[in-house]
């Protein structure tokens, strides 16, 4: 992960509608030699808990439509969220950061997180990465 362009995304939501764009951009970026640095903070951290990606739902009242949406995603041959994460890891173009403050606020322990998490960091560490990035997004 040296000469690649860099994308920094703050992942603020752990719901299906927000996580899909995150992982689609990360995997498309990986294919284009763009490294994706994802900072999971606040409700985004839910996605990094074991089973979080598998069980992500649509937000609010749309929650009841999650099954239908997942059906459509499957029908369109779009991979599941864990499969997209695997693709990115396989390409070696993704870095997953868990927000340390959120872990305290939400009472999440390190052993509750999926092993794909690269580092537990604070805002300053992520800002340093984001300042050097070519694309910065908040999703």
């Amino acid at each position: 992960m040296t000469e690649n362009k860099k994308m920094a995304i703050i992942v603020h939501s752990g719901t299906l509608d927000k996580l899909y764009p995150v992982f689609m951009l990360a995997s498309a970026g990986g294919a284009m030699d763009v490294d994706a640095h994802l900072f999971f903070t606040f409700w985004g951290l839910d996605a990094l808990k074991k089973g979080g990606l598998e069980n992500a739902k649509l937000p609010g009242v749309m929650r009841v439509g999650t099954g239908m949406m997942k059906g459509r995603i499957k029908d369109a041959n779009v991979p599941t969220l864990p499969a997209l994460l695997d693709l990115c890891k396989e390409m070696g173009t993704i870095k997953i950061y868990a927000c340390s403050t959120t872990m305290e606020l939400m009472k999440v322990k390190e052993e509750e997180l999926i092993p794909e998490v690269d580092e537990i960091v604070g805002a300053a560490a992520f800002l340093e990465i984001a300042m050097d990035a070519d694309v910065q997004l908040f999703i």
Binding site: K5, S27, M32, A76, N77, M91
Partner: protein, 86 residues
């Protein structure tokens, strides 16, 4: 031009059938294929995602690989890409 015959002018190392796949899968699959190929080798991709034309153009511009041909016939896009670089 002569539609699919266009691609027969090239010595294709691998053909990827991405019909029925949507973004980002066609370019992810192409990236994987290119990884296993040598410089100068050619991959042919068949796709149906209407967004794939702009995606393949952008992919090739940004990664330096060469989009030799892109054509469309009966809703199927054909892309011929030459690997550039290691």
């Amino acid at each position: 031009m002569d539609g699919f015959n266009v691609s027969e002018r090239y010595k294709v190392k691998e053909t990827l059938d991405c019909k029925g796949l949507y973004c980002p899968m066609p370019i992810v699959k192409m990236k994987k294929a290119l990884k296993g190929m040598a410089e100068g080798e050619i991959v042919k991709i068949l796709a149906t995602d209407p967004g794939s034309k702009r995606d393949f153009e952008a992919f090739c511009r940004k990664t330096g690989n060469k989009l030799l041909e892109s054509s469309q016939e009966d809703g199927v896009f054909t892309y011929i890409v030459e690997k550039v670089g290691p």
